[in-house]
Symmetry: D2
Subunit: 399 residues, 4 copies
C-alpha cells in the first residue's frame, strides 16, 4: 500500500487491465465496476479510493479457523482493496482454508500457519479472531505499524478492573487498552478513523447499544430498569466441539443462559453509562435459539417524562438517516432476524407498550456480520480511509 | 359409563380377560398394568377408578383435523377409560384419521364427519378443538348432559365485554360463559371437578399464570410492571395454510408478533387481577420461533418490599410440592423447552436479576400438551372423577 | 368383557396397593390399567404377565448417559414390570439422571456409577448401551445369569473375521459371539425368546432388512444391484462432542458420509445373504440430515423375473399382517419419518419405478426407537416372556 | 475523483455521477471497482463491458413476489449493468418490494404492478418467474425485441407432446418453443449467447445433467439403469401457502414425493437422451428436506465397460476445468449442500461403489441460485454480451 499512484482515471485503467493477469486461468482477476450506495460518510473517501490499487492492503486473519474468521474471508472475497496474505490457526496449521471451510475452497488463499510462524512484514492490517484471553499477548507482539481490529473481548472494557472481574484474570496489556478504540462504528466513527487498535464490539452489545445510546443521550428513555431479553443464533458460541451445541441439543427448543452473568453485561453497561453520564445497571437475559445466525434484542424501557414512542422513533430516524447499515423500520413494522441474515444491517423499531409510560424496542442483526466480522470490516475500511461499506453491500439471504 | 360396577378387583378382571378378544387381530386389546406416580390429589380416586370399565367413557373430538385435535387422539391412545366414538372435521368430513394425520393411522377410530352430522347420543364428553368464534353456537347446541372441555378462547374471558373488545364480535352464549369454569388445573381444581363446561386456558396464559398467580397471591411480587417476553413454537398457529408459517418463512429466524395486541393478554390479566385483587396490566410480547412445539415465558418482575428470590422459590416449591405436572427446578437450573416436549409438565424457576429488587422467572411448557390438549385431558379426568394424570404419564421426548 | 376370572384379581390388588408404598408423596405409585394392542404373538403371554409383580424385573442400564441409554429410561418409565436398579456412566459417575438428562429429572432413579462399581447381584437383565469395542470385555465379565441386550455393534457380525476387518481389532469374546442371537425381532423372534445375549441391530440394518429379508426369501427381488440411499437424523451419531455434529454444521443442509465404508454394511449384507442363501453385496450410501430423530432408507431394487410391484406389496402385507410394529402403507402412500417419531413403528411401502423391471422400496423408522432402544426393549420383553409391545405403545409425536 | 483524466475517466464519470441521482442521500450511488474471477469464457467480454454504462440494461422481473423473483432482485443489487425498471406480481400489485420481501426493503425499486399494466417500452430484458402454464401466453405477448429468460417449465421440453403429456394441457406457443434455447449454461453456452428466449433449467435437472451429460457423451457411463435419489430444500416448492409446506409439517423429518411422476423427469431424460443419442429412462425419486435452500442429487450409475471411477473424475475435471461455477471436489471430498448455499456453484464428485462396475456421483447446488435465478442471470449475462459471472461472485453463506 506504499507507492500510491496519483492520478485517478489512468490508475483505474492500470488496475483493470494489468497485463500480468492474462496468464493463469482461475486465478486471474478482472475489474468489474459495481455500484454501491453512497452515504454522506463515504462521500469524503471518493478521492482516496481512486488512489488505492486493487487488493493493495495486505490483510492478516489471526484465528481463521473459527466462524468469525471464515466470515472475514467471505466478506473480503469481493473487496477491491483488501487481499489476505496471512492466515493463522494454531490447531489447523498447515491446512488449506478449503479443508477447514469447504465453502471457501474456491478462494486462492495462503495455507493456515501457527501464529508464531507468521511473517507480519507482509501485512498491513489484521483481523484478530482469537479467543478471549489469549489475544492480549499476541497483539502486544505485533509490529507497531499494523492496523488491528480485534474481534475478541480483550480490549472492549475500558476499565481493566472490570476486565479482571468478569474474565477472571488480570489484563496483560493495559497500555494497549488505553490506546484501543471501541468499534461501534456509527457511534464512535470519528475515533475509529484515527485508531490503530479497534476493539470490535460484541454481538449483543451492538444490537443493544445501537438503539439505546442515541435514546439515552437524548434523554428520551430512562436509564434505570432497562430489561433486555435477547435471542441469539448458535454461531455466536463458536465452532468449538461442545455437547451443549450439538444439533440434537439445540434443535427444536429454546433456553436462557448466562442469567445475570453473561460477559457482555459490562460492555453493555459501559456504553449505556457513557451515554447516560452515570452508572447504568441493566437486566440482561440471553437465550439460545435453533438458528445458526441472527440475533434479536427485545428491550423493555421506561420513557423519560414527557417522551412518547413517536419521539423515540423520530429521534432514531433522524439519528440514523444517513447511515447505510442502521435502518429504522416503518411504523409498526416488526423486524425479523431473517431479514438481515448474511448482511451488515441492523434493523430496529420502537413500539408502544400496554403499560403506560413504557416502550418496546426491537433490534435485529446477523451476529456474525454486524455483530462481528461485518462491523470489523466496516471499521477497517474506516481506518484505511476507504468507503466504510466497501465489501459489505451484500443483501440479506432469504429464505 | 352408566351402570358402574361396585366391587373393584373382580371388575378389573372383567376388563382384562374378556374372551371376546381372541378373534380379530389388531383391534383386540389386552390389559396391562402400569404404574403411575401417585400424588395426594389422585389418591382419592383410587377407588373410583376401579369402578370404571375400560374405555367406558365415550369421547367426541370436535375439530379433529387440527393439531390440538390430533394431540387429543395421541394422548387418548393409551388412556384406559376414554374411548373416542365421534370425530368431527367439517372440511375433512368422510376422511379417516390416518389420511389426515398419518402418524395416527395405526389407531382404529371412526372416520371424521361434519359436526352437524354428529350423533351425540353416543357421547359422554367432548373435547372441543374448534376455532375461536365458531365454538359458542356449537356448544350451545350440544346435549346438556355432556361434559365439555373447550380448547378455544370462546369461554375464557369472564367479562363478555372483554370478549367483544378483543374478538370483535358480541359473545353469543353469555349464559354458558357464566357457567364455564376456567381450566387452569392446579389453580382451579376444585371448581373444575364439578364443572360441566371447562374453558381450557391458552398456552401463553398457562405458562405465565402457573408461576405468577401463587406469587401474586402471596404478595411476593408486585403486580405492576410485569414484563413478559414469551417464545412459542409454530404449532400454536395451527395447521391452517398461511404463507407466514411456511417452513421457509420460519426456519432459522425469530420475530416478535402481536405486540401489545395479542389476544391472550386479557386472559393473562384476568388471572393475575384475580390473584392481585386489583386490575393488572402487563407488558406481553410473544415471539415466534423455529420449533414445532414448546413455549418459554421469560418474566421480569419487581419483588415486593422485603421479599427475596429465595422467598419466591420457597413459596413455589411448597405450593407445587404435591403436583405431578408443575415442577420447580433446582436452584440455578435453567429450564429448556426441549425438556418438556411431548409431556404435560410445566418446569419453572426463579433467578435473581442484576437490578436490585427484581427477579427473573422462567417457565416452559409444551404448548400442545400442558398448553392445550394435555391440560384439557387433565381437566376431563378431573371432571370424570378419575386420577388427573391418567393418560398423561409420557416422559418428554428428547432429543 | 363378561366372564370374570377370580384368582387374578387378588393378585392385581396386591400389586396395586402394597402398604409399603403409602408413605412418601411423589415416590408412591399406584397401578392403573391400560389397554394395549394385542397381537397373536403376545396372546400367549397373557398368563405369564399376571404372575409377574410390578417392576419385578430389575434392570441395569450400562452407558446411561448417551442417547440410547436415555431412551431406554424414557421407555421404561411406563413399563409395568421392568424397574431400573443400576445405571452406569463412567464419565458421569456420581451424577443423577436429571443432571445429565434434565428431561428425565422427574424420574426416581439410582445415580449413575462407574461400570466397575456396579453390583449386578441386584440386576436381572441389562441393556448395554456402551460404545463399540469396549463392550465385549464388559459383557464377558457380567454374571452368567443375566439377560443381556447389547445395543453396540460388538456382537452383530457372526463372522469374527468380518468384525476384525470392519472394526480394526480382533474380537475379544468369540465364545459370546457364538452365543449371541441377532435381535431383528420380527425376523428372529423364535431365537430371541430363548436367548441370553441379544445383539440388537443397527438402525440402518433394521430399516433395510425389515422390507428386504422377506422379499429376498420369497425370491421376489434380485439380490444383486441393490442400491440403498439412506438418510439419518443426527442422534444416530451419539452425544459425543464433535465439531461435525454442531448445530451450525448440520442445520439447513445435507451430505453423504461413509460412502462405501459405513460399518453397517457388513451387518446389512450378512442379513441379506442369509435370506438369499448366497453372498450379497449392496450399494449403501448414508446421508446426514438436519433432524434429531428419524431414518429413511430408499431402496432401489430389480424385480425377480415375473414378479410385480403388487406381488411385493402383497407379500409384505401378508408377512407383517400380525405384527404390531411393522406397517405396510396403503397403496401409493408415502411414509414420512415424522410419522414414526418417538415410536417403535417401521412403516414401509413399495412403488413402481419408471424403469421396467425395477421397484422402489421406502422404509422409515425412528433411529432411537425401532432402530435402537425400542427394539432392544421389544427383545427383552420377549426374552422375559412378556408381551413384546409392553412399554412400547406410544404413538408418534407429531408435529 | 474530481480531476478527470483521459478517456476512461470521462466514461467512469458518466456512469457514476449522472446528475439525476445526485439528490437524495441513500439513493445516490458511487462506483467502486471490484475484482472478480476471470475465466477464459469471460475474457472475451473485457472490451464489451467497458462500453456499457452502469445499470444501462433495463430489466423487468415478471412474478417478483415469489422466491425466484426475490432472488433475482438480490443478485441484481450488486450487478453493475442490470437495473430493474419493472416488477410485476398480480396478487401483490401496488405493493412495494419491501412490503412483500422485507429483506429487500433497502433497495430502491419500482412498486409491483399487474403484468397487464406493465409498460415494456422501458425494458430491455425480462426474467420471467411466473408459474408453469401461465407463462406461454404472457411471453407471446411481449415485445419481440426483448431478451427473455423464462424460469418456468413452459419452454424446457422440446417436444410439445411431452409438454402436453406431463403438464396436462396443450402447449400454447409452439413457435416460441421452437425458438427457445435450453439454458444449461455450461452445456449450451454457444446457443445461449445468440438466443432471444432461454428456457432456464429446473433445479433437479441442473444438478443431474451437469455431471451426467459429459460422462454420457464420453461413453464413460451407461445410460441404462441410472438411479437418482435427489433431496431438495423447501424453497423449491415456492411461496404458496400450502399445508404440506408449513414449518410444522416439514421440520425434523424427510419424505419422498412425486415418485415416478415428478415433472422434472422428462426434462432430465431429454438432456440425457441428447447426450446418449438414444432414448434414456431414469429412476428419479425426489425427497423433501427440512432446509430452505439446497439440493443434492445422489446418482448411482453403471460404468461403461473398461471405464473406472478415476476416468470419470478425470473427464469431469478436464471438462469443467475452466468453468467458474462447476467445481469437481478433490478425491474423496464429499460435497455438502451447505457449501454452496446462496452461491451459484455446483460442486460434484465421483466415488467408487462397493458393487463392482458401479459408481456414485454426488452433485450439490443451491436450488434458488444455480438451480434457478443464479443460472438465469448467468444466461442473461451471456445473452447481453457481458462476463457471465457478473453479479454472481457471492461466496456461499456458512454457517
Amino acid at each position: 500500500m506504499s507507492s500510491a499512484v496519483a492520478y485517478g482515471s489512468v490508475y483505474v485503467n492500470q488496475r483493470c487491465f494489468r497485463e500480468d493477469r492474462a496468464k493463469s486461468s482461475k486465478a486471474r482477476r478482472v475489474c468489474v465496476c459495481k455500484s454501491v450506495t453512497l452515504t454522506p460518510q463515504s462521500l469524503q473517501y471518493e478521492k482516496t479510493k481512486l488512489l488505492m490499487p486493487e487488493k493493495s492492503v495486505r490483510i492478516g486473519v489471526l484465528g481463521a479457523s473459527g466462524y468469525t474468521g471464515s466470515e472475514i474471508v467471505r466478506l473480503l472475497a469481493n473487496h477491491p482493496y483488501f487481499g489476505i496474505t496471512v492466515m493463522t490457526a494454531d490447531r489447523k496449521a498447515g491446512q488449506s482454508i478449503g479443508s477447514v471451510f469447504p465453502h471457501l475452497a474456491t478462494q486462492h488463499l495462503p495455507d493456515m500457519i501457527a501464529v508464531n510462524d507468521a511473517d507480519f512484514s507482509n501485512v498491513d492490517a489484521v483481523f484478530c479472531c482469537l479467543p478471549h484471553g489469549t489475544t492480549q499477548e499476541i497483539i502486544k507482539a505485533l509490529p507497531k505499524g499494523l492496523k488491528i481490529v480485534d474481534l475478541s473481548a480483550d480490549f472492549r472494557l475500558r476499565d481493566i478492573d472490570d476486565y479482571e472481574k468478569w474474565y477472571g484474570q488480570p489484563h496483560r496489556a493495559p497500555e494497549l487498552q488505553r490506546e484501543a478504540v471501541y468499534g461501534l462504528t456509527e457511534i464512535y466513527r470519528t475515533d475509529i478513523k484515527d485508531a490503530r487498535l479497534v476493539a470490535n464490539p460484541g454481538c449483543y452489545p451492538t444490537s443493544i447499544q445501537l438503539p439505546l445510546v442515541p435514546l439515552i443521550k437524548a434523554n428520551l428513555i430512562r436509564s434505570e430498569n432497562i430489561i433486555i431479553d435477547a435471542k441469539s443464533g448458535v454461531s455466536g458460541a463458536g465452532r468449538g466441539a461442545k455437547e451443549a451445541n450439538l444439533y440434537t441439543e439445540i434443535a427444536e427448543g429454546i433456553h436462557s443462559y448466562g442469567i445475570t452473568g453473561h460477559r457482555h453485561v459490562p460492555e453493555i453497561e459501559q456504553g449505556l453509562a457513557e451515554a447516560a453520564n452515570s452508572k447504568v445497571t441493566v437486566s440482561f437475559t440471553p437465550h439460545l435459539m435453533p438458528m445458526s445466525r441472527g440475533m434479536q434484542s427485545s428491550i423493555y424501557v421506561e420513557l423519560a417524562p414527557g417522551a412518547s414512542v413517536e419521539d423515540l422513533r423520530q429521534h432514531l430516524k433522524v439519528f440514523y438517516e444517513n447511515e447505510e447499515f442502521v435502518v429504522l423500520g416503518k411504523e409498526k413494522e416488526v423486524p425479523h432476524t431473517r431479514h438481515v441474515r448474511g448482511s451488515n444491517y441492523c434493523i430496529m423499531n420502537v413500539f408502544p407498550d400496554r403499560i403506560t409510560g413504557r416502550a418496546i424496542i426491537l433490534s435485529v442483526i446477523d451476529n456474525l456480520v454486524k455483530g462481528a466480522s461485518g462491523q470489523a470490516l466496516q471499521n477497517l475500511n474506516l481506518m484505511m480511509g476507504i468507503p466504510e461499506n466497501t465489501g459489505l453491500t451484500y443483501l440479506p439471504l432469504f429464505p
